[in-house]
Assembly symmetry: C2
Homo-oligomer: 235 residues x 2
Amino acid sequence: MTAEPAAPQPRSGKTVRLPRTARRFQLLGAAREVFVAQGYHAAAMDEIAERAGVSKPVLYQHFPGKLELYLALLDEQAHSLVSSVRRALASTTDNHARIARSIAAYFDFVNDPSGAYQLVLESDLRSEPAVRKRVENSFTECVNAIAGVIAADTGIAPGEAELLAVGLVGLAETGARWWLVTGGAVPKERAVASMVELAWRGLAGYPRRNADSAGQEPSPGTADTAVTRHGPVDI
Amino acid sequence: MTAEPAAPQPRSGKTVRLPRTARRFQLLGAAREVFVAQGYHAAAMDEIAERAGVSKPVLYQHFPGKLELYLALLDEQAHSLVSSVRRALASTTDNHARIARSIAAYFDFVNDPSGAYQLVLESDLRSEPAVRKRVENSFTECVNAIAGVIAADTGIAPGEAELLAVGLVGLAETGARWWLVTGGAVPKERAVASMVELAWRGLAGYPRRNADSAGQEPSPGTADTAVTRHGPVDI
DNA sequence: TCTGGATGCCGATCTTGACTTCCACTGGCG
DNA sequence: CGCCAGTGGAAGTCAAGATCGGCATCCAGA
């Protein structure tokens, strides 16, 4: 999914000639590194070109400008996140597992070694309408996907389901980012399990349209058993 | 809390002379408007000065530079948010009310007509370490405040409580911002109540150290009654 | 193998926009 | 009446996005 430049800088004298497609792919990789490390504004086209081992005009032969280059990367990551969440929801009909896998999807998205999640979740440049539109769209699509499942499987009104989905996405997003900045102080599975527990307890309290016993919570046990009651979360 | 310039532009010929404190206060107000409307990068010192009805050198006599001006506003808002959350937690010992008021605090923070919440929650310029530090600090302080309450009132380990607090903050933050962009399609109280419901159900499942009945959830009713069972949320 | 065209690439430069500062002016105050 | 803090117009400085003309490299066809 993420373009990896063959070598950071083939600085040995001259630049090798590359076919157009390959060069574009490499430029995207270099741009991703710089944008992630510096943010949009601090990133310089000079540095992107240098990182790719080419000169600036080459960059402008592949992309009309800095913004378009950024948007290409943003689209790439936004689609990646949305499709991950959709896959998580479609991978099972067990709603607890759906939540667990969706939250895990956020953690995995954030955990990508390239750090490209920042383009979607921590973008500067929300002042730019095109960027704002894409960020909000990806968020909304995730919300709608989750809200759809909630509304379909419970008697909750669509508007209410949407609100809950927003809360869940916020929980997953923030939890994932927090877990990342702590640098793995707690294992990922543990953090995911906590978020799932928090989320599921909330969802489980609502009545289910198909009245099976899963929606009915027994009185809570001890803290330890409560946290691990559903067992470890598998991807 | 937010400085309101007496008039956007006292464009009547000459600028009135103001005592230093008042001038600074007015400059902060003008700067807040411009930074909120345009973001840090798109904002121009020219426009801030013009908005305040003074010339640029005056601006630089009160603030060393654009960054310091921005940081002053950022501090202002970050402290506002943190103290609101702290106040909400300290205003009662009823944990359900604590959650409700804390979440409401996020909604109120976001709902400020000045839109200054953007400085904390949607700042471009996270690439700047000073900014990142302040944003993360305010987040962490909110998390710690909530985690402290959780850990104190339950048997949950501090690390686990911190994770839950992160989830709650993310839920509140994202919910509030979502509610704002929808432009009041649903009433604020309704949105807050949904977030509270989602959050509380999760928290309520955990055992309470002081075993009073508030932590024990009865079996859920219908969707409508479930949402409003706790009654409307008062500030 | 030779050749003409096309493609890829670069050094150097232009241009813009925004932060910052210099110097003269003005109006109140001792 | 003279001082001076506050003020403004305008210029300085600089970083960074965008571009122009020319050189090098590769490939198809005779």
